[in-house]
Amino acid sequence: MTAPSITVSETPLVLYTLRRADDALILGHRLSEWCGHAPMLEEDMALSNMALDLIGQARELYGYAAKVEGRDNDEDNFAYLRDVRQYRNLLLVERPNGDFAHTMVRQLFYAAFADLYWRGMMGSTDATLAAIAAKSEKECAYHLRHASEWVIRLGDGTDESHARAQGAVDDLWAYTGEMFSVDEAERGLIDAGIAIDPTMLLPEWLSIVSHVAREATLVLPENDWMQQGGRDGRHSEHLGHLLSELQHMQRSFPGATW
């Protein structure tokens, strides 16, 4: 017997909250895969720290989604009992860790966005989201600093590290555009002052990322084709494997308490 997936009443606010929660959980899960395998012990600590911050953000957001949805779902139902098509995270965060350069470039791209995003969300008319934003912004500011320093070290380090960092930038660039997209469901929340408009953040994000790239002697790709789909549950093949690991226990032992 396996536990079936839940159904979710995706009102605009529930959907909005799940999208942000899924971003945090999936990236946190990816970072946690490094624990015990990082290039140095200090990075085992740092990557775990960032993973813990993100998993903490996910838990708060899932908790709020559960409250807004007002049914029997809780944080674990949302995390463990939704299938690939029900997950709403950005394609960027589900990208496999790859080498350390891929992990750090992914972190730079996301954290540079998340820091700006949560800073803006501190002014949300929704008091819970504003409070979650205040905590998340502090954490993402640290993640941004950590990832920027590493991308600069790798880009401006050895020939090998430069090539790896440039390769990571080239591979991940097409997944950055999705962070700034807005659909109808979110437009209403933006108009109501509950959410902010992420398209407004693009110039500042680009300026932060370009500055880091310049310091790192890396070149940002000119190709502006951007992959989309994560927000609507159209994911890469990687997410299913991640979920089969993440959800193994809850799926295999329906209804058990852990």
Partner: protein, 329 residues
């Protein structure tokens, strides 16, 4: 290089050494702490470097069996707690390496010896974590046994090690309670969960008893370590303390200790049946179920990270050069 140049090799005549050695022993007898810059016999230094680095390696290798369940933890709360716990172990490893460095050994050479298979780490981490219940048992018993071993080390004669142990023990005792709470949840859960808990206890019980080391009559290092107040209780004494504390906890959980010969003596001590010391010897010799996997995982992380460490060093050098050039302008 992380090594601090605190310690120069001891020089002097044998007569001087005898005077110093006797002064050193009087300080130990008076329960004074020995600090990095103090004179110490080279055998004391060597013993401590060996013990502290083995302890550090154990923390780092110990991240692997528990890390095996981080991505599969059954709830978000458990996932966060396990990740934080494994991160704590890494922190313990880091400050233990730092404590060893105060004795003149470098982290690199100690880690290299471990990767080369020349340095030991705790035998317990050569067993596999097969189910979620293993995470509960490791917290409850493995960390429980570690606490029994380490509480006396908070009074160890070498200052940096003793102080590191105070913090380590605080965190370990939190881990132990967390592990016991996992066990309690399993034992109050479904029949399947309780069976999972019993199975984990069956597999880990004997290897945990071996964590205290060989029986007293066979232990190599105890005599001098006791004289130097590095070790304050014998292996068998600590093992007995652990068993006496653990049996009632197992009873409360409703689990059976997998030792048909275990019985309580007149003083109330729980007396265990014979331990298979051949298994212990085999695990130490590299023949445990996971020895090869553990070393391979550490070697892979080290090798895969080499280009990152080289890049960091190259960048630091470039930056220093640029700063110097700027200052010269």
């Amino acid at each position: 290089m992380y090594t601090q140049a605190l310690n120069s090799p001891e020089e002097g005549s044998l007569a001087e050494d005898a005077v110093r050695a006797s002064r050193f022993q009087s300080r130990i007898d008076a329960e004074e702490r020995i600090e990095p810059n103090d004179w110490m016999p080279s055998a004391y230094r060597k013993t401590l470097i060996r013990q502290i680095s083995q302890h550090a390696h154990s923390e780092i290798v110990g991240m692997l069996p528990e890390g095996n369940w981080i991505t599969r933890a059954p709830s978000l709360r458990r996932k966060a707690a396990l990740l934080a716990k494994v991160q704590d172990e890494c922190g313990h490893g880091l400050y233990l390496y730092a404590a060893a460095e105060t004795l003149g050994a470098s982290r690199e050479e100690l880690v290299d010896a471990m990767l080369a298979g020349k340095a030991k780490y705790s035998s317990i981490f050569n067993y596999p974590t097969l189910t979620w219940a293993d995470i509960g048992v490791i917290g409850w018993l493995v960390d429980g046994a570690a606490i029994m071993n380490q509480i006396p080390l908070c009074r160890c004669s070498y200052g940096p090690y003793a102080r590191a142990m105070i913090r380590v023990c605080k965190e370990e005792s939190f881990h132990q309670r967390q592990g016991y709470e996992i066990m309690l949840t399993l034992c109050r859960g479904t029949a399947e969960q309780k069976a999972m808990a019993q199975d984990a206890l069956n597999r880990w019980w004997w290897p945990v008893l071996m964590m205290f080391g060989p029986p007293d009559q066979a232990s190599q290092h105890s005599d001098t370590s006791t004289k130097w107040k590095i070790k304050r209780f014998s292996n068998d004494e600590l093992r007995q303390k652990f068993i006496d504390a653990t049996v009632p906890q197992a009873q409360y959980l409703g689990l059976t200790i997998p030792d048909p010969e275990m019985k309580q003596d007149e003083q109330g001590h729980w007396v265990h049946g014979p331990i298979d010391w051949n298994e212990f010897k085999q695990v130490l010799a590299g023949n445990g179920p996971c020895n090869r996997d553990r070393l391979a995982a550490r070697r892979k992380a080290h090798a895969d990270g080499a280009w990152v460490r080289e890049a960091a060093a190259a960048y630091a050098e470039k930056r220093a050069r640029r700063q110097m050039a700027q200052a010269a302008e």
